[in-house]
Protein backbone atom coordinates (compact mmCIF):
# COMPACT_ATOMS: atom_id res chain seq x y z
CA UNK A 1 0.00 0.00 0.00
CA UNK A 2 1.34 3.43 -0.84
CA UNK A 3 2.18 5.78 1.99
CA UNK A 4 -0.23 8.65 2.57
CA UNK A 5 1.33 11.22 4.94
CA UNK A 6 -0.78 12.34 7.87
CA UNK A 7 -0.15 16.00 8.56
CA UNK A 8 -1.65 17.91 11.46
CA UNK A 9 -2.35 21.54 10.54
CA UNK A 10 -2.70 23.91 13.47
CA UNK A 11 -4.29 27.05 12.01
CA UNK A 12 -5.10 30.38 13.57
CA UNK A 13 -8.73 31.38 13.55
CA UNK A 14 -8.37 34.81 11.98
CA UNK A 15 -6.12 34.40 8.97
CA UNK A 16 -4.95 30.88 8.22
CA UNK A 17 -8.15 29.01 8.96
CA UNK A 18 -9.98 31.49 6.77
CA UNK A 19 -7.27 31.00 4.13
CA UNK A 20 -7.77 27.23 4.24
CA UNK A 21 -11.51 27.81 4.06
CA UNK A 22 -11.04 30.01 1.01
CA UNK A 23 -9.03 27.25 -0.67
CA UNK A 24 -12.02 25.00 -0.07
CA UNK A 25 -14.77 27.32 -1.24
CA UNK A 26 -12.68 28.29 -4.28
CA UNK A 27 -12.72 24.57 -5.14
CA UNK A 28 -8.94 24.46 -5.22
CA UNK A 29 -7.68 20.96 -5.76
CA UNK A 30 -4.91 20.06 -3.30
CA UNK A 31 -3.60 17.20 -1.18
CA UNK A 32 -6.16 15.98 1.35
CA UNK A 33 -3.42 15.03 3.82
CA UNK A 34 -3.78 17.85 6.35
CA UNK A 35 -6.04 17.38 9.37
CA UNK A 36 -6.90 20.87 10.50
CA UNK A 37 -7.06 21.96 14.13
CA UNK A 38 -8.29 25.51 14.63
CA UNK A 39 -6.79 27.59 17.42
CA UNK A 40 -7.48 31.23 18.19
CA UNK A 41 -3.92 32.33 17.47
CA UNK A 42 -0.62 30.79 16.42
CA UNK A 43 0.65 32.19 19.73
CA UNK A 44 -1.61 29.62 21.40
CA UNK A 45 0.42 26.79 19.89
CA UNK A 46 2.30 25.21 22.75
CA UNK A 47 5.30 23.22 21.45
CA UNK A 48 3.75 20.32 23.39
CA UNK A 49 0.99 20.24 20.74
CA UNK A 50 3.55 19.46 18.06
CA UNK A 51 5.05 16.62 20.11
CA UNK A 52 1.59 15.28 20.95
CA UNK A 53 0.74 15.22 17.25
CA UNK A 54 3.78 13.05 16.53
CA UNK A 55 2.93 10.84 19.49
CA UNK A 56 -0.58 10.39 18.13
CA UNK A 57 0.73 9.24 14.76
CA UNK A 58 1.28 12.35 12.67
CA UNK A 59 4.04 12.29 10.06
CA UNK A 60 4.31 16.06 9.98
CA UNK A 61 2.95 19.19 11.66
CA UNK A 62 2.28 22.55 10.04
CA UNK A 63 1.52 25.62 12.09
CA UNK A 64 -0.02 28.58 10.27
CA UNK A 65 -0.64 32.09 11.51
CA UNK A 66 -1.21 35.64 10.28
CA UNK A 67 1.62 37.41 8.50
CA UNK A 68 3.98 39.41 10.76
CA UNK A 69 2.31 42.67 11.70
CA UNK A 70 -1.16 41.32 10.97
CA UNK A 71 -1.86 39.27 14.12
CA UNK A 72 -5.40 39.74 15.42
CA UNK A 73 -3.88 39.88 18.90
CA UNK A 74 -1.00 42.16 17.81
CA UNK A 75 1.93 39.88 18.65
CA UNK A 76 0.84 36.26 19.08
CA UNK A 77 2.36 35.24 15.77
CA UNK A 78 5.75 36.65 16.88
CA UNK A 79 5.67 34.22 19.77
CA UNK A 80 5.08 31.38 17.32
CA UNK A 81 7.84 32.83 15.13
CA UNK A 82 10.27 32.39 18.03
CA UNK A 83 8.97 29.14 19.49
CA UNK A 84 8.82 27.03 16.35
CA UNK A 85 12.46 27.64 15.23
CA UNK A 86 13.74 26.87 18.75
CA UNK A 87 11.55 23.77 18.86
CA UNK A 88 12.88 22.73 15.47
CA UNK A 89 16.46 23.04 16.67
CA UNK A 90 15.58 20.79 19.62
CA UNK A 91 13.75 18.30 17.40
CA UNK A 92 16.76 18.13 15.07
CA UNK A 93 18.82 16.97 18.05
CA UNK A 94 16.18 14.30 18.61
CA UNK A 95 16.56 13.08 15.06
CA UNK A 96 13.40 14.59 13.59
CA UNK A 97 13.85 15.82 10.03
CA UNK A 98 13.49 19.54 9.41
CA UNK A 99 10.67 19.12 6.87
CA UNK A 100 8.37 17.42 9.38
CA UNK A 101 7.65 20.67 11.22
CA UNK A 102 6.78 23.81 9.32
CA UNK A 103 5.68 27.33 10.22
CA UNK A 104 3.89 29.35 7.54
CA UNK A 105 2.09 32.67 7.38
CA UNK A 106 -1.19 32.40 5.48
CA UNK A 107 -3.64 35.30 5.28
CA UNK A 108 -7.38 34.99 4.80
CA UNK A 109 -7.03 35.84 1.11
CA UNK A 110 -4.28 33.32 0.41
CA UNK A 111 -6.27 30.20 -0.37
CA UNK A 112 -3.99 29.44 -3.29
CA UNK A 113 -0.94 29.78 -1.14
CA UNK A 114 -2.36 27.45 1.54
CA UNK A 115 -3.06 24.83 -1.11
CA UNK A 116 0.45 25.18 -2.54
CA UNK A 117 2.11 24.93 0.87
CA UNK A 118 0.11 21.80 1.72
CA UNK A 119 0.96 20.21 -1.61
CA UNK A 120 4.64 20.95 -1.16
CA UNK A 121 4.79 19.65 2.41
CA UNK A 122 2.84 16.51 1.52
CA UNK A 123 5.30 15.75 -1.26
CA UNK A 124 8.28 16.32 1.04
CA UNK A 125 6.91 14.02 3.71
CA UNK A 126 5.96 11.42 1.17
CA UNK A 127 9.65 11.32 0.25
CA UNK A 128 10.73 11.11 3.90
CA UNK A 129 8.37 8.28 4.67
CA UNK A 130 6.33 7.63 7.79
CA UNK A 131 7.37 8.88 11.21
CA UNK A 132 7.57 5.94 13.54
CA UNK A 133 7.85 6.93 17.12
CA UNK A 134 10.19 4.36 18.55
CA UNK A 135 12.57 4.14 15.65
CA UNK A 136 15.87 2.81 16.94
CA UNK A 137 14.63 2.51 20.47
CA UNK A 138 14.03 -1.18 20.93
CA UNK A 139 15.34 -3.03 23.96
CA UNK A 140 16.37 -6.43 22.93
Amino acid sequence: MSFEPKIVGILCNWCSYAGADLAGISRKKFSPNVRVVRVMCSGRVDPTFVLKAFEAGADGVIVCGCHPGECHYAEGNYKAARRIPLLKKMLAQLGIEDERVRLEWVSASEGDRFAAVVDEMTAQIRRLGPFSRNNGGGNG
Binding site: D46, L51, R82, P85, I96, G136
Partner: protein, 320 residues
Protein backbone atom coordinates in the same frame (compact mmCIF):
# COMPACT_ATOMS: atom_id res chain seq x y z
CA UNK B 1 4.40 -5.87 65.97
CA UNK B 2 7.35 -6.61 63.74
CA UNK B 3 9.17 -3.58 62.46
CA UNK B 4 8.39 -2.65 58.85
CA UNK B 5 10.96 -3.76 56.30
CA UNK B 6 12.68 -1.30 53.97
CA UNK B 7 14.69 -2.11 50.85
CA UNK B 8 16.88 0.33 48.94
CA UNK B 9 18.28 -0.31 45.49
CA UNK B 10 20.38 1.53 42.95
CA UNK B 11 20.03 0.89 39.27
CA UNK B 12 21.51 3.25 36.65
CA UNK B 13 22.55 6.01 39.02
CA UNK B 14 25.60 7.71 40.48
CA UNK B 15 25.11 6.73 44.11
CA UNK B 16 24.14 10.24 45.12
CA UNK B 17 20.63 9.17 46.11
CA UNK B 18 22.07 6.60 48.53
CA UNK B 19 24.36 9.27 49.93
CA UNK B 20 21.31 11.53 50.32
CA UNK B 21 19.74 8.85 52.53
CA UNK B 22 22.91 8.86 54.63
CA UNK B 23 22.74 12.68 54.69
CA UNK B 24 19.85 12.32 57.08
CA UNK B 25 22.79 12.01 59.56
CA UNK B 26 21.64 10.95 63.01
CA UNK B 27 18.08 10.57 61.71
CA UNK B 28 19.28 7.46 59.87
CA UNK B 29 19.28 5.87 63.33
CA UNK B 30 15.63 6.85 63.71
CA UNK B 31 14.92 5.17 60.38
CA UNK B 32 16.79 2.08 61.54
CA UNK B 33 14.84 2.33 64.81
CA UNK B 34 11.41 2.23 63.19
CA UNK B 35 12.26 -0.14 60.34
CA UNK B 36 14.50 -3.06 59.43
CA UNK B 37 16.63 -2.44 56.36
CA UNK B 38 16.57 -5.79 54.56
CA UNK B 39 18.36 -4.90 51.32
CA UNK B 40 20.71 -2.02 50.48
CA UNK B 41 23.56 -2.96 48.13
CA UNK B 42 25.62 0.17 48.79
CA UNK B 43 25.68 -0.30 52.56
CA UNK B 44 24.60 -3.76 53.68
CA UNK B 45 25.71 -7.19 52.52
CA UNK B 46 22.45 -8.78 51.43
CA UNK B 47 22.38 -10.62 48.11
CA UNK B 48 19.76 -10.94 45.41
CA UNK B 49 18.98 -14.51 46.52
CA UNK B 50 18.04 -13.22 49.97
CA UNK B 51 15.39 -11.05 48.33
CA UNK B 52 14.29 -13.89 46.05
CA UNK B 53 13.76 -16.06 49.13
CA UNK B 54 11.30 -13.57 50.67
CA UNK B 55 7.56 -13.95 50.36
CA UNK B 56 5.76 -11.67 47.92
CA UNK B 57 4.88 -8.40 49.64
CA UNK B 58 7.31 -9.08 52.51
CA UNK B 59 9.04 -5.72 52.04
CA UNK B 60 6.91 -2.78 53.20
CA UNK B 61 8.76 0.04 51.45
CA UNK B 62 11.21 -0.06 48.56
CA UNK B 63 13.17 3.09 47.69
CA UNK B 64 14.43 2.48 44.16
CA UNK B 65 16.91 4.97 42.74
CA UNK B 66 18.38 5.06 39.27
CA UNK B 67 17.01 4.60 35.78
CA UNK B 68 16.68 1.20 34.12
CA UNK B 69 19.16 0.61 31.32
CA UNK B 70 20.15 -3.06 31.62
CA UNK B 71 18.43 -6.43 31.88
CA UNK B 72 19.80 -6.85 35.42
CA UNK B 73 18.23 -3.58 36.55
CA UNK B 74 14.97 -4.55 34.91
CA UNK B 75 15.03 -7.95 36.62
CA UNK B 76 15.70 -6.49 40.07
CA UNK B 77 13.02 -3.82 39.54
CA UNK B 78 10.50 -6.58 38.82
CA UNK B 79 11.76 -8.67 41.74
CA UNK B 80 11.52 -5.78 44.20
CA UNK B 81 8.09 -4.88 42.84
CA UNK B 82 6.84 -8.38 43.57
CA UNK B 83 8.34 -8.43 47.06
CA UNK B 84 7.30 -4.88 48.06
CA UNK B 85 3.99 -3.43 49.17
CA UNK B 86 5.03 0.12 48.24
CA UNK B 87 7.60 1.04 45.59
CA UNK B 88 8.96 4.58 45.48
CA UNK B 89 10.78 5.94 42.43
CA UNK B 90 13.50 7.70 44.38
CA UNK B 91 15.39 10.51 42.71
CA UNK B 92 15.35 12.12 39.27
CA UNK B 93 16.76 9.06 37.45
CA UNK B 94 14.11 6.64 38.71
CA UNK B 95 11.37 9.25 38.15
CA UNK B 96 12.35 10.73 34.76
CA UNK B 97 15.47 8.94 33.53
CA UNK B 98 17.79 11.62 34.89
CA UNK B 99 21.31 12.15 33.61
CA UNK B 100 21.67 8.50 32.42
CA UNK B 101 18.72 9.12 30.07
CA UNK B 102 20.87 11.57 28.10
CA UNK B 103 22.08 8.25 26.66
CA UNK B 104 18.79 8.27 24.77
CA UNK B 105 20.40 10.75 22.36
CA UNK B 106 22.31 7.73 21.11
CA UNK B 107 21.98 3.96 21.28
CA UNK B 108 23.84 0.84 22.36
CA UNK B 109 25.89 0.48 19.17
CA UNK B 110 27.10 4.09 19.30
CA UNK B 111 27.83 3.94 23.03
CA UNK B 112 29.82 0.72 22.65
CA UNK B 113 31.71 2.16 19.70
CA UNK B 114 32.70 5.18 21.76
CA UNK B 115 33.43 3.35 25.00
CA UNK B 116 35.31 0.34 23.66
CA UNK B 117 36.85 1.56 20.39
CA UNK B 118 37.15 5.35 20.14
CA UNK B 119 37.86 6.42 23.73
CA UNK B 120 41.57 7.38 23.86
CA UNK B 121 42.28 5.24 26.92
CA UNK B 122 41.29 2.03 25.13
CA UNK B 123 43.73 -0.73 24.24
CA UNK B 124 41.32 -2.90 22.33
CA UNK B 125 43.04 -3.87 19.10
CA UNK B 126 40.77 -6.89 18.67
CA UNK B 127 37.65 -4.73 18.86
CA UNK B 128 36.14 -6.74 21.69
CA UNK B 129 32.69 -5.73 22.89
CA UNK B 130 30.92 -6.97 26.01
CA UNK B 131 28.85 -10.06 25.30
CA UNK B 132 25.85 -11.27 27.24
CA UNK B 133 27.26 -14.81 27.07
CA UNK B 134 30.90 -15.86 26.78
CA UNK B 135 32.10 -19.46 26.73
CA UNK B 136 35.45 -20.08 28.42
CA UNK B 137 37.09 -23.37 29.32
CA UNK B 138 35.71 -23.17 32.87
CA UNK B 139 32.13 -22.69 31.64
CA UNK B 140 29.84 -19.84 30.64
CA UNK B 141 30.09 -16.23 31.76
CA UNK B 142 27.06 -13.99 31.67
CA UNK B 143 26.72 -10.21 31.59
CA UNK B 144 23.48 -8.25 31.73
CA UNK B 145 22.21 -6.94 28.44
CA UNK B 146 22.74 -3.22 27.83
CA UNK B 147 19.56 -1.54 26.54
CA UNK B 148 19.34 0.83 23.59
CA UNK B 149 16.97 3.04 25.52
CA UNK B 150 17.12 4.19 29.13
CA UNK B 151 13.77 3.70 30.87
CA UNK B 152 12.19 5.26 33.91
CA UNK B 153 11.19 2.93 36.74
CA UNK B 154 7.49 3.46 36.04
CA UNK B 155 8.04 2.32 32.43
CA UNK B 156 9.12 -1.06 33.83
CA UNK B 157 6.97 -1.68 36.92
CA UNK B 158 4.05 -0.04 38.75
CA UNK B 159 5.22 2.66 41.11
CA UNK B 160 3.26 4.05 44.07
CA UNK B 161 5.16 7.27 44.78
CA UNK B 162 7.63 9.56 43.09
CA UNK B 163 10.31 11.39 45.03
CA UNK B 164 12.13 13.66 42.56
CA UNK B 165 15.44 15.46 42.90
CA UNK B 166 19.09 15.01 42.10
CA UNK B 167 19.34 13.90 44.82
CA UNK B 168 16.10 14.15 46.81
CA UNK B 169 16.60 16.65 49.62
CA UNK B 170 16.79 15.37 53.19
CA UNK B 171 13.54 17.01 54.32
CA UNK B 172 11.61 15.14 51.63
CA UNK B 173 13.28 11.84 52.54
CA UNK B 174 12.29 12.35 56.17
CA UNK B 175 8.77 13.27 55.05
CA UNK B 176 8.49 9.95 53.20
CA UNK B 177 9.71 8.04 56.26
CA UNK B 178 7.30 9.99 58.43
CA UNK B 179 4.34 9.32 56.11
CA UNK B 180 5.22 5.69 56.30
CA UNK B 181 5.86 5.50 60.05
CA UNK B 182 2.57 7.24 60.84
CA UNK B 183 0.55 5.42 58.19
CA UNK B 184 -0.58 8.71 56.59
CA UNK B 185 0.26 7.68 53.06
CA UNK B 186 -0.82 10.01 50.24
CA UNK B 187 -2.85 8.60 47.32
CA UNK B 188 -0.93 6.25 45.03
CA UNK B 189 0.70 8.05 42.12
CA UNK B 190 1.57 11.13 44.20
CA UNK B 191 4.75 13.05 43.63
CA UNK B 192 6.12 13.82 47.06
CA UNK B 193 7.28 17.41 46.57
CA UNK B 194 5.58 20.76 46.03
CA UNK B 195 2.63 21.23 43.68
CA UNK B 196 3.99 24.64 42.64
CA UNK B 197 6.72 25.49 40.18
CA UNK B 198 10.18 26.45 41.31
CA UNK B 199 9.50 30.03 40.15
CA UNK B 200 6.52 30.19 42.52
CA UNK B 201 8.78 29.35 45.43
CA UNK B 202 11.79 31.37 44.36
CA UNK B 203 12.34 34.48 46.50
CA UNK B 204 14.39 36.46 43.99
CA UNK B 205 13.19 39.87 42.80
CA UNK B 206 11.12 39.37 39.67
CA UNK B 207 10.35 42.28 37.40
CA UNK B 208 9.47 42.10 33.74
CA UNK B 209 10.48 38.94 31.93
CA UNK B 210 12.06 40.47 28.87
CA UNK B 211 15.50 39.46 27.69
CA UNK B 212 17.56 40.40 24.69
CA UNK B 213 20.50 38.07 25.13
CA UNK B 214 21.08 34.68 26.68
CA UNK B 215 24.21 34.02 28.70
CA UNK B 216 25.76 30.73 29.67
CA UNK B 217 26.43 30.56 33.42
CA UNK B 218 30.19 31.08 33.02
CA UNK B 219 29.77 34.20 30.86
CA UNK B 220 28.26 36.41 33.54
CA UNK B 221 28.32 36.87 37.29
CA UNK B 222 24.64 37.00 38.13
CA UNK B 223 23.13 39.39 40.64
CA UNK B 224 22.23 37.07 43.56
CA UNK B 225 19.03 38.99 44.34
CA UNK B 226 17.39 39.16 40.90
CA UNK B 227 15.61 36.53 38.81
CA UNK B 228 18.25 34.60 36.86
CA UNK B 229 16.06 34.29 33.80
CA UNK B 230 15.61 38.07 33.66
CA UNK B 231 19.40 38.33 33.68
CA UNK B 232 19.51 36.16 30.56
CA UNK B 233 20.53 32.87 32.15
CA UNK B 234 18.49 29.84 31.14
CA UNK B 235 16.80 28.72 34.34
CA UNK B 236 14.42 25.76 34.20
CA UNK B 237 12.31 27.17 37.05
CA UNK B 238 9.21 28.03 34.97
CA UNK B 239 8.68 24.38 34.01
CA UNK B 240 10.12 22.58 37.03
CA UNK B 241 8.35 21.37 40.15
CA UNK B 242 9.29 23.09 43.37
CA UNK B 243 9.93 21.59 46.78
CA UNK B 244 13.67 21.25 46.29
CA UNK B 245 14.55 23.91 48.85
CA UNK B 246 15.99 26.14 46.10
CA UNK B 247 19.43 24.61 46.52
CA UNK B 248 20.80 25.74 43.15
CA UNK B 249 19.14 29.15 43.22
CA UNK B 250 20.66 29.92 46.62
CA UNK B 251 24.06 28.98 45.23
CA UNK B 252 23.42 31.61 42.50
CA UNK B 253 23.07 28.91 39.86
CA UNK B 254 20.05 28.43 37.57
CA UNK B 255 17.57 25.60 38.05
CA UNK B 256 18.50 22.57 35.96
CA UNK B 257 15.12 20.90 36.19
CA UNK B 258 15.84 17.88 38.42
CA UNK B 259 12.39 17.94 40.06
CA UNK B 260 10.74 17.23 36.73
CA UNK B 261 7.66 18.85 35.27
CA UNK B 262 5.11 20.52 37.56
CA UNK B 263 1.54 19.18 37.74
CA UNK B 264 -0.28 19.55 34.42
CA UNK B 265 2.86 19.69 32.29
CA UNK B 266 3.33 16.68 30.05
CA UNK B 267 6.63 17.60 28.48
CA UNK B 268 9.13 19.70 30.39
CA UNK B 269 11.33 20.40 27.36
CA UNK B 270 8.47 21.68 25.20
CA UNK B 271 7.34 24.02 27.97
CA UNK B 272 10.85 25.39 28.37
CA UNK B 273 11.08 26.04 24.63
CA UNK B 274 7.85 27.95 24.98
CA UNK B 275 9.02 29.90 28.03
CA UNK B 276 12.42 30.94 26.68
CA UNK B 277 11.09 31.84 23.23
CA UNK B 278 8.25 33.86 24.77
CA UNK B 279 10.38 36.17 26.88
CA UNK B 280 13.11 36.76 24.32
CA UNK B 281 12.60 40.16 22.74
CA UNK B 282 12.97 40.34 19.00
CA UNK B 283 10.66 39.85 16.08
CA UNK B 284 12.95 40.02 13.07
CA UNK B 285 14.38 36.95 11.44
CA UNK B 286 17.90 37.97 12.46
CA UNK B 287 16.92 38.37 16.11
CA UNK B 288 15.11 35.04 16.13
CA UNK B 289 18.09 33.31 14.52
CA UNK B 290 20.32 34.89 17.18
CA UNK B 291 18.12 33.53 19.97
CA UNK B 292 18.12 30.06 18.44
CA UNK B 293 21.91 30.27 18.19
CA UNK B 294 22.27 31.40 21.79
CA UNK B 295 20.45 28.31 23.08
CA UNK B 296 23.42 26.08 22.29
CA UNK B 297 21.95 22.74 23.25
CA UNK B 298 18.18 23.00 23.64
CA UNK B 299 17.47 19.27 23.96
CA UNK B 300 20.28 18.70 26.46
CA UNK B 301 19.33 21.79 28.47
CA UNK B 302 15.57 21.36 28.51
CA UNK B 303 15.56 17.56 28.90
CA UNK B 304 18.61 17.40 31.14
CA UNK B 305 16.82 15.11 33.60
CA UNK B 306 13.65 14.26 31.72
CA UNK B 307 14.40 12.74 28.33
CA UNK B 308 13.22 9.21 29.17
CA UNK B 309 9.96 10.62 30.53
CA UNK B 310 9.36 13.09 27.68
CA UNK B 311 6.86 12.56 24.87
CA UNK B 312 9.53 11.50 22.37
CA UNK B 313 11.54 9.57 25.02
CA UNK B 314 14.65 9.23 22.85
CA UNK B 315 16.40 10.31 19.69
CA UNK B 316 14.63 9.11 16.63
CA UNK B 317 17.27 7.05 14.80
CA UNK B 318 17.24 6.43 11.09
CA UNK B 319 16.51 2.83 10.35
CA UNK B 320 19.43 1.08 8.66
Amino acid sequence: MAKPKIALYWASSCGGCDVAVLDTNEKILDIAGVADIVFWPIAIDFKYHHVEAMEDGAIDLCLFNGAVRSSEQEKIAKLLRAKSKVVVAFGACACFGGIPALGNFTNRAEIFQRAYIEAPSNANADGTFPQTLTRVSEGELELPEFFDTVLTLAQVVDVEYFVPGCPPPVDIILKVVDFFATGRLPPAGSVIASDKTLCDECQRIKEEKKITRLYRPHEIIPDPKRCLLEQGIICCGPATRGGCGLRCIEANMPCRGCFGPPPGVIDQGAKLVSAIASIYQGDSEEEIARMVGEVLDPAGTFYRFGLADSILKRKHCQQP
